[in-house]
Point group: D2
Chain length 116, copies 4
DNA sequence: TTTT
DNA sequence: TTTT
């Protein structure tokens, strides 16, 4: 079945790189992605999307990107759930990155050129 | 910023259609999307992805689709959070559908034709 | 740079499988993809999109699909150009498939559930 | 049927803005999109993808972008054909833009962070 | 709360 | 836990 995601957004903090027990690099980042439309009272909201990166992609992103960096991510949505300490079921959704592209770090004035 | 999702999967239950106070139709569905790869022990896992549909898209999907229907969804990831009764912060991620395509209901033998 | 395509459409003819001089399987297919909107005079038009498949993807698609099959393709747009016999420059654009998913063969009543 | 494209690339020249007989703005641009992989002899090739923009999207892109600008485009592939003066059938494929996002103009050091 |  |  098809499951494809493409994001361009800004890192909310430095990538958090770790290694699994068997030595696989893994990093988690959160992308702030401003919406292209406003609420009824004119506010631009932002979605905060968690992404999981593996291996070289994780290491390279940790090396080249930091809080505020603009990156493009392609990947797929993944879901899982677990029970927390209090026995409550917690549902987790994030994006498993297949590729990451570094798009810059400057106070970049990205600008929406569409109107429908 | 860019935020695009494309999914093809199966409804885990009948669409749940409601109306907001001001009369907007809204439906929630969950798509079961089998992964295209197996775990290290050969299991095909499935992601369960919640989608929110509005207006005509919500009504049409509720009319034409049911548990087991295969649909294609394009849209964007949205996130929000709230505090539950016990004061715990709950993070919610789902897909805001922009279009929905009905792709059939049969015991459809979808088959992956890729190998990398 | 980012270049991602997702298509669901119908094969206009049986896949055409060949092998390169060094034994790589390659297949060309054309996908008929009906548009989700009508012309000003109410006609639904169709785009005919050429796709190139390689290796296992080519062989599996040739084995499992035929004229009329509905498939999903993810991949990227590629362009090239050459001069024909009369010295005229010919520009060619097609989709390099990264994955192909077989979605059925029946006279499938795919139905658009969106309206904006 | 599904037909979705997402591109991030660089304008090969200034947008070419025109108006149809009935006053609709339309612009054509070509995006240079470097591939994320090399040929067998280590060359990074580039695809040159024609895009058609309409109305506000056309006008805004013509106003804010120029040769070298990096933009993100979402849209769909469209195909058409015609006979040229010599009676030869010419097939044309381009991307009908649904949204355009301006991502900067600097000699932007976009960098691929993936490896597969 | 999960579909075939 | 949120970026500019």
């Amino acid at each position: 079945m098809i499951n494809n995601v493409i994001l361009v957004g800004r890192l909310t903090k430095d990538p958090d790189l770790r290694y699994t027990a068997d030595g696989q690099a893994v990093a988690n980042v959160t992308l702030a992605v401003a919406r292209n439309f406003k609420t009824s009272d004119g506010v631009v909201e932002t979605d905060f999307i968690n992404c999981t990166l593996w291996r070289k992609t994780a290491e390279n992103t940790a090396n080249y990107c930091k809080k505020g960096s603009v990156i493009g991510v392609t990947g797929r949505i993944q879901t899982r759930n677990y029970e927390n300490e209090t026995g409550q079921k917690i549902y987790v959704t994030d994006v498993l990155a297949e590729s990451v592209k570094f798009l810059g770090t400057k106070p970049q004035q990205s600008r929406e050129l569409v109107e429908n």
